[in-house]
Symmetry: C2
Subunit: 123 residues, 2 copies
């Protein structure tokens, strides 16, 4: 459980890391080599593809920072948590979602499947 919390914290940090080298290192310590991320709009399989996917998201949403907005619920190597980004003057579009993850035996992520909870323009 402690390890799951740590890998989720690294996962969120990877989405927020704008330094290319540090982001790539975070991805390698977060996902297994064949790990995947998939939501309705984005998909990456393996460290290179996940890195390119996050880089593209950062360019699409400059100034955004992802933050956990729930606890991390985990059992039997599975976990779910919710996140939010935006809703600020620099990042007005509010984005939120829930990710379901499968943790591999080595403690890194085997898969992250994301669902959108909210995406609405700020008033």
């Amino acid at each position: 459980m402690s390890n799951i919390n740590e890998v989720v914290v690294r996962y969120v940090a990877a989405w927020n890391e704008r330094d290319a080298k540090r982001r790539r290192d975070l991805i390698a310590s977060t996902w297994r080599e064949d790990g995947i991320y998939r939501d309705a709009h984005r998909h990456g399989e393996g460290h290179d593809a996940i890195d390119a996917m996050i880089d593209a998201a950062q360019r699409q949403f400059p100034g955004y920072r992802v933050a956990l907005k729930s606890g991390i619920e985990a059992h039997n190597g599975y976990a779910r948590f919710s996140w939010a980004a935006g809703g600020t003057p620099d990042a007005p579009l509010y984005l939120g979602g829930t990710d379901f993850v499968v943790v591999a035996d080595d403690g890194r992520l085997e898969s992250v499947i994301g669902f959108v909870d909210a995406a609405a323009a700020a008033g």
Copy 2:
């Protein structure tokens, strides 16, 4: 998407079916032969084990009926939905959760991973 809705409806029906033969048939049409269900408390792998697991839950919670309490959100063969049971005079303990499912190529469930959203005694 239509097929995912149908398999989720069969899945909920399986939890509610008290007739042993009909429940077993629903399970076979809902899960792949090697399909799994797992939450923090229950686990079944394969039709026989899933059937025994649901039978035990029905005995533990007589009178309960599971109902969807959210839409079924799906993308790329993954789906999530929330359910509720109880909160009535016959079934006073309210139970609720969110299930995250992976749909196999044949349209049946490969895995269901459940998380508890609420479990509180009625007032």
